[in-house]
């Protein structure tokens, strides 16, 4: 090698590869600030749980949708599997909800593995289309297999054992569990930002042919990303089930829910650490505010806002912050 190698600490090189430790620092700062929410807004705890919980699930969605570039419009399947596995094990077998949630993760991973192995051979929009189909099928099965799921009547959780001495139906407890989940998802994302596996996923997102040409096996890596995304989403689903206390297949497996998760990530900025959090805050908080100030017209205004964001911040609101900071 005739050239003297550039030092790894060379500034251009350092700037060229994402400064990982820093972003992890930001994650901790943001989570710490959020931890004060229940103290400051003690009257808006339900709203807070919803925002943080959806932020966690949207960030989980983003592992596949944003970092790997595979648009899923069927992630409600994992929300539903998480909620139902947990609830049914609690009701029918007397299993503790946290073990039920773990079982839900297992079930979601199995489903994602089969689903991914089949549909990731498809390129382009076909995975997205297939994801809608899978979610609808799951919803119909859950709706009609009444002996297992309770069918359209839904299930309700009358009481739950205490978790480490905490009441799981307390909004405050739910908030902090949701925050831990969000933390898990964001830390996972910050690892994707700079790890070998993360670069594989980003390369697949950017150009699959070129990714293969540098030795990446796209099908395998997409499936792995899908498994991680499904597992995290499923945890969120279990918590969502507890949060609601009562739910039915129509809500849990709905296309609406799937689209919402995707929309949050897009509005906030896909493939960014905090984009899904920003998106969840805006969409959940926004729809709440709109319901109060524009009764009856809130969905119209909501739609208008989404259009505005897409027009003026097509890369997500999170990137606007970055742009402003650069100027």
């Amino acid at each position: 090698m005739p050239q003297t190698p550039l030092s790894v600490s060379h500034p251009a090189v350092r700037r060229g590869v994402n400064a990982g430790p820093w972003s992890l620092g930001w994650v901790l700062v943001v989570l710490a600030v959020l931890a004060f929410y229940p103290v400051v807004f003690r009257n808006f705890l339900t709203l807070g749980v919803t925002i943080v919980l959806f932020a966690g699930m949207a960030t989980a969605w983003d592992v596949l949708g944003g970092w790997t570039g595979q648009l899923s419009l069927g992630h409600a399947v994992f929300v539903g599997i998480g909620a139902y596995t947990m609830a049914l094990l609690v009701l029918r077998a007397g299993v503790a909800p946290w073990w039920g949630a773990m079982a839900g993760v297992g079930a979601s991973v199995v489903v994602a593995a089969m689903w991914g192995a089949v549909t990731f051979r498809l390129r382009g929009p076909y995975f997205a289309l297939a994801s809608i189909a899978v979610a609808e099928m799951t919803r119909i099965v859950a709706n009609n297999w009444a002996s297992l799921t309770g069918g359209a009547e839904g299930v309700s959780l009358p009481s739950l054992p205490r978790f480490l001495g905490l009441d799981l139906f307390s909004r405050r407890v739910e908030f902090y569990i949701a925050l831990v989940l969000l933390g898990l998802a964001v830390v996972a994302a910050s690892w994707l930002q700079r790890s070998r596996f993360g670069y594989h996923l980003q390369a697949i997102r950017e150009d699959e042919d070129a990714a293969m040409a540098v030795g990446i096996n796209p099908t395998r890596d997409k499936v792995l990303a899908f498994l991680a995304s499904a597992a995290l989403t499923s945890l969120g689903g279990s918590l969502y089930g507890i949060f609601l206390g009562f739910f039915e297949p129509r809500g849990m497996f709905s296309l609406d829910l799937s689209v919402q998760l995707a929309l949050m990530a897009y509005i906030g900025g896909v493939g960014t650490l905090f984009g899904p959090l920003v998106g969840a805050g805006l969409l959940v908080g926004g729809s709440e505010v709109l319901r109060i100030y524009f009764p009856g017209k809130s969905l119209f205004v909501y739609g208008l806002l989404i259009i505005l964001v897409v027009l003026f911040a097509p890369d997500g609101l999170g990137t606007v912050v970055r742009r402003v900071r650069r100027v």
């Binding site: 030092s7 790894v8 540098v214």
Partner: protein
């Protein structure tokens, strides 16, 4: 010396088209092999087969003695086959450094080592100053270097370079040539596809010539450059049948009289010192040419010389950076593209660009959608159907169901529907069988006999020069030669422009 790559009876079919036809090919360790051939010869397809981006239709591929015919692309990369893409495929939103890191991780799973190796490659490729820029912000020259750099991060045993020099300015090209030598000296074996003949003749130890998917010649640069088969492949075949049956559609014009319909009162197309560029890549540097009313003028030159770009600047599909394009008294360079069509300048684009889902007749009618020609569409339609009776028969058929030759006729017909005074044809014979090529050239002459001025861009140089009144030779964006068609046919300069000798 050991064999790095060998293909046996390698074949690739696209539908009925044989893109790569039983190619037998072997490369020794440490060689630089140039792969050349006219457009559509199958060079990039061959690369796609070797790198695994496409599946073979039949035949076998061996890499270092091991069969890889059915191995997926990522396994071949792991084994040590690196490639660049002719249509560049960077990871646009990643930084340049990250683009290289992705590949570096393949050989160095440890992050520190991977960053170190990527930094080394970035330095060697002269991309260090762009390390933190996103790949999409690079110029074409920068992206081409990034393509090579990314392939190098794999420490490839075999490197496939697909047109990494074309489109670079002379200084950049020189730099890349130097770099390719350095890469070879470090032990890589290289196969390169390149249209810049000076480069490939200078770099290659051995050259393989593909034409219509087949390996037609092989040897040292000198042997290949003087091989008559190669010259024919590049310059087109001379069929030698001058007594062609005459056209049937313009009874008013005496047949066989080449210049009878010249109408000296029409407008003249004049380009004066035209410069044009795609983004940062300047393609036309100094193009001046004239097409007088009633003339048939051919514009010839190697791939990438700027022929299509010249036509595009006339049609105003591309902005003129400097210079003038005049048609009669009108400045085309200051007009919009539809105004240019309205003035009577039509273009039949390369690759035909038909509306595949529409019928033949619908395709034709789109050609006369402007105000000037709208009222005349029935008359024009009849004229086109007279010229191409086959199109009348198939007028209800979808354009996609036509054969290649018929599609070309349809594209020409669509151009005629705007009742042009000047018709520009871009590679009308490209990818057609020899008998159809003959027919296309006959049609071009018929059109000219109608009194329509023709500016013709052609790969098939011999045929084009034979029917042209005058011709221009373009090389690297500059007109280097002008003269009567038949005279240029004998010119050594034409051969030089095409073969770089």
């Amino acid at each position: 010396m050991s064999e790095v790559l060998r293909t046996e009876q390698l074949r690739k079919l696209f539908g009925g088209l044989v893109a790569v036809n039983d190619v037998e090919f072997a490369v020794e360790e440490g060689e630089i092999v140039g792969l050349i051939g006219p457009n559509g010869a199958g060079k990039t397809t061959f690369f796609n087969l070797v790198s695994g981006a496409m599946r073979v239709s039949s035949g076998r591929i061996f890499f270092q003695g091991r069969e890889i015919t059915h191995a997926p692309a990522y396994q071949r990369a792991e084994l040590g086959i690196g490639r660049t893409f002719q249509i560049m495929k960077p990871f646009p939103r990643l930084t340049v450094m990250e683009n290289l890191l992705v590949g570096a991780y393949l050989r160095h799973p440890n992050r520190h080592a991977a960053v170190r190796w990527a930094a080394e490659v970035i330095e060697m490729m002269g991309l260090a100053e762009f390390a933190s820029a996103s790949a999409r912000s690079l110029t074409t020259a920068g992206r081409k270097r990034l393509e090579v750099a990314r392939a190098l991060t794999l420490s490839p045993t075999l490197l496939l370079l697909d047109e990494v020099v074309a489109g670079l300015n002379p200084v950049e090209a020189e730099g890349t040539v130097e770099l390719i030598r350095r890469i070879r000296d470090r032990g890589a074996t290289i196969i390169m596809v390149e249209h810049v003949m000076r480069v490939i003749m200078g770099l290659s130890d051995r050259i393989v010539v593909l034409a219509n998917g087949s390996n037609i010649a092989e040897g040292t640069p000198q042997q290949v450059a003087t091989n008559p088969d190669v010259i024919t492949a590049y310059l087109g075949t001379h069929e030698g049948r001058d007594a062609r049956p005459q056209a049937t559609w313009s009874p008013g014009t005496p047949a066989g009289e080449n210049h009878s319909a010249r109408d000296d009162t029409g407008p003249t197309l004049a380009l004066r010192r035209v410069q044009a560029a795609y983004g940062d890549v300047q393609v036309l540097w100094d193009v001046s040419l004239e097409v007088r009313p009633g003339e048939l003028v051919a514009l010839i030159g190697a791939n990438g010389a700027g022929k299509t770009t010249t036509l595009r600047t006339v049609a105003r599909l591309l902005r003129v950076r400097d210079g003038e394009v005049q048609f009669g008294t009108n400045r085309l360079d200051q007009m919009s593209s539809h105004d240019v069509v309205n003035l009577g300048v039509a273009m039949v684009p390369e690759g035909r660009q038909l509306f595949n889902q529409m019928t033949v007749e619908e395709n034709l009618l789109t050609g006369s959608s402007l105000a000037r020609t709208r009222t005349l569409r029935r008359t024009n339609l009849d004229r086109v159907y007279t010229l191409f009776p086959l199109l009348r028969e198939r007028r209800r058929q979808e354009a996609s169901t036509l054969s290649g030759g018929e599609q070309q006729m349809l594209a020409i017909g669509r151009g005629l529907m705007s009742a042009p005074r000047l018709l520009m044809l871009d590679e009308p014979s490209l990818g057609l069988a020899p008998t159809i090529v003959e027919e296309v050239f006959r049609v071009v002459q018929d059109i000219r006999r109608e009194g329509i001025t023709v500016l013709l861009v052609e790969q098939n140089v011999q045929q084009a020069l034979r029917i042209a009144d005058r011709a221009y030779v373009i090389e690297s964006g500059r007109i280097v030669l002008e003269g009567p068609g038949p005279e240029l046919l004998q010119s050594a300069e034409v051969r030089r422009a095409y073969l770089g000798i």
